[in-house]
């Protein structure tokens, strides 16, 4: 009987599960179809882009013509990674209902898609923007310092995501083909995990290079559909396991400890207290919606109607998949699998990490529910977890390329043609993929570097949140100055760097600053802490420095509102 082991990188830790289930050759078949599907979409999008007259806009923004289905699903697939399908149910298994309150950040993000995204789309089309820095430097006035700090803010979000998601994909491939110890390529033996990293990196790199935004978005559609289906089906499986909805809630209400059905008080050891959740819902949602890859999706949307419908789809489909899908898996899983405490940490009964609860549920109940099709569905969901990693990695890889090409290369080679910049962008994708894969391959030798990147990954959303003040100023207020924007952004980024786990690397293990930020992190969203400092410095410096010319501000405001 073949075993199946799944290792995930859902929240930065490694989990191992031994499951007594034979999937036979289904994982190979499903994965082969999946990878061929991705490459086919890349080729089709390449053929579509050959008709384009504007190389750069076509490569980075799919010619600003993406429709509602593609826009909705690419925003959703970029929004969540394997965190959504593994870590979140694990949190609920461990902490009960309280972490479900995080789902209320989704409607906030949906509102931002329209209220911020549509204005960004409108002026982006009017003025030919491609990256966030294009818009910021056009409004505040171009300066190398401003462009570099905006590019840096974007890079602090996207680079850790690329590395961690590629590493996660490799670990998942290793779990999917546990019976294979090593793979031999040209006489060179590599582990299955490294082979997974290499294969997924190569496939992702190929379709991003050949099709740009169009292939990234189209593959996001495929990955998004697989992932959303997996989220809902796993919820159905756990309700089936507990014999229907009424019995599900009856057993949850009667068998689970009361602490799992209530909200912990602030300051409790449980991190999911109400103030932390409230500030996360209000600010982390905005941070993940104005990160560079999403910002470019707003530019790429065809029209206002597209983003309006995308906001509706985002606000309804995604929360339903969470609240009636993966959340129930965590809650029902706690009834189905009595937890085991190992070193004071909650584990599943077989000793595996809690983020394996969804995998346990589908492996135990899908074959019973669906027969042979259940085996296919289990394989499909395991591939879906990989898809979640890849759909986040490809979007961020594409965004890295745009940031380097538009914000760093173009200002220093102003005479470069669009075609030249597009090829430079492709070169950046190759280099970034090789760098990410190399860091992953050499994980043990480059342990310090990988730990540093992981520390940045945990604060990536807080870094992205530092774009919120200048975005609101440009779109709604128009009272800040360029110096204020630079100073505020720098202060916000530095503030975020003081929080753990990055603060521990920068400041060492001790010190009153680190103690303070550790306490604060338990109470509030880190992004909000950075924003408070950011806004204070932004207002103060803007008060003593010149704003953009009045005529410039008025023209900018007109283009934000104007029909395009």
């Amino acid at each position: 009987m073949e075993g199946l082991r799944l290792e995930s990188f859902g929240s930065g830790f490694l989990a191992t599960t031994e499951a007594p289930l034979s999937l036979g050759t289904w994982p190979y078949i499903v994965l082969a179809f999946y990878l061929v599907g991705l490459l086919s979409l890349g080729v089709i999008s390449l053929l579509r882009s050959r008709r384009a007259t504007n190389a750069e806009t076509d490569y980075y923004l799919a010619g600003r013509g993406q429709g509602v289905i593609v826009t909705s699903l690419t925003i959703m697939a970029t929004f969540f990674s394997s965190f959504a399908i593994l870590t979140f149910p694990g949190w609920i298994y461990e902490g009960g209902i309280a972490p479900m309150l995080y789902a209320l950040n989704l409607p906030v993000a949906a509102v931002a898609i329209y209220l911020l995204g549509n204005r960004i789309r409108r002026i982006g089309r009017k003025r030919g923007y491609i990256t966030p820095a294009d818009m910021v430097t056009d409004y505040y006035g171009d300066s190398p310092a401003l462009r570099i700090i905006i590019a840096l803010t974007g890079a602090l979000y996207v680079i850790p995501y690329v590395v961690i998601q590629i590493k996660g994909g490799g670990l998942l491939a290793d779990g999917l083909f546990q019976e294979i110890e090593h793979v031999s390529i040209f006489g060179w033996q590599i582990t299955m995990e490294d082979a997974g990293v290499a294969a997924l990196s190569l496939v992702t790199m190929i379709y991003v290079i050949i099709g740009g935004m169009r292939s990234v978005a189209w593959t996001d559609v495929m990955q998004g559909i697989i992932l959303l289906s997996a989220m809902v089906l796993s919820g159905v499986a756990v309700i089936y396991a507990l014999e229907g909805p009424s019995n599900f809630f009856a057993r949850v209400s009667s068998e689970l400890d009361g602490s799992l059905l209530t909200v912990p008080d602030p300051g409790d050891t449980n991190p999911h207290n109400v103030w932390k959740i409230l500030t996360f819902c209000a600010f982390a949602s905005l941070a993940s919606i104005i990160q560079p890859a999403q910002w470019m999706r707003f530019y790429a949307a065809r029209d206002s109607k597209t983003l309006r419908r995308a906001a509706i789809a985002f606000s309804t489909i995604l929360p339903v998949c969470f609240i009636f899908g993966v959340f129930l898996v965590g809650l029902g899983g706690r009834v189905l699998y009595q937890p085991e405490m190992i070193d004071g940490v909650v584990h599943l009964p077989d000793g595996s990490k809690t983020d394996q609860v969804l995998i346990h549920v589908i492996q135990d109940y899908f074959p019973e529910m669906f027969g042979t099709i259940g085996l296919v569905l289990v394989s499909l969901i395991l591939v879906a977890v990989m898809a979640a990693s890849m759909s986040t990695a490809d979007s961020n890889l594409h965004a890295v390329s745009a940031i380097v090409t538009r914000d760093l290369y173009h200002p220093y080679r102003k005479k470069s043609s669009e075609r030249e910049r597009t090829w430079i962008g492709r070169l950046v994708i190759i280099m970034a993929t090789i760098a990410a894969a190399t860091i992953t391959f050499a994980g043990k030798d480059l342990r310090g570097l990988l730990d540093t990147i992981t520390a940045f990954f945990f604060l990536a959303m807080a870094f992205s949140a530092q774009l919120v003040p200048i975005t609101f100023d440009m779109i709604f207020l128009r009272r800040g100055s360029r110096r204020g924007a630079i100073a505020g952004l720098a202060a916000g980024l530095l503030t975020v760097c003081l929080f753990p786990p990055l603060g521990q690397l920068l400041l060492g293990g001790e010190g009153w600053v680190l103690k303070g930020t550790t306490t604060l992190k338990g109470l509030l969203d880190v992004g909000l802490c950075g924003i408070i400092v950011n806004v204070a410095v932004f207002i103060l410096v803007s008060f003593f420095s010149p704003r953009p010319e009045k005529s410039h501000r008025e023209a900018f405001a007109r283009d934000l509102k104007e029909v395009s």
């Binding site: 209902i97 309280a98 479900m100 309150l101 995080y102 789902a103 209320l104 950040n105 409607p107 906030v108 949906a110 509102v111 329209y114 549509n118 009424s246 809630f249 009856a250 949850v252 209400s253 400890d257 009361g258 602490s259 059905l261 209530t262 909200v263 008080d265 109400v274 103030w275 959740i277 409230l278 996360f280 819902c281 209000a282 206002s304 309006r308 906001a311 509706i312 606000s315 309804t316 929360p319 609240i323 809650l331």
Partner: protein, 65 residues
């Protein structure tokens, strides 16, 4: 304009009350958690505020945006 403000206020109330201190007021205690209609009150709370927020978005999307 009045409808815009009304929806904004309802949405913000949902945002503050939903994940905020309101959740801690209705959930009961860990010794005796509130169960409404056979379902943990906190789960119903999440679903209720999610529906309120989505209703606001749909109303805005269909009439204001």
């Amino acid at each position: 304009m009045r409808r815009s403000w009304l929806l904004t206020v309802i949405f913000l109330i949902a945002l503050v009350l939903g994940p905020g201190p309101g959740a801690a007021m209705i959930d009961g205690t860990s010794e005796a958690p509130n169960i409404w209609f056979g379902i943990p009150a906190l789960y119903l709370w999440v679903v209720f505020w999610f529906l309120v927020m989505v209703t606001c978005i749909l109303a805005a999307a269909l009439t204001l945006w």
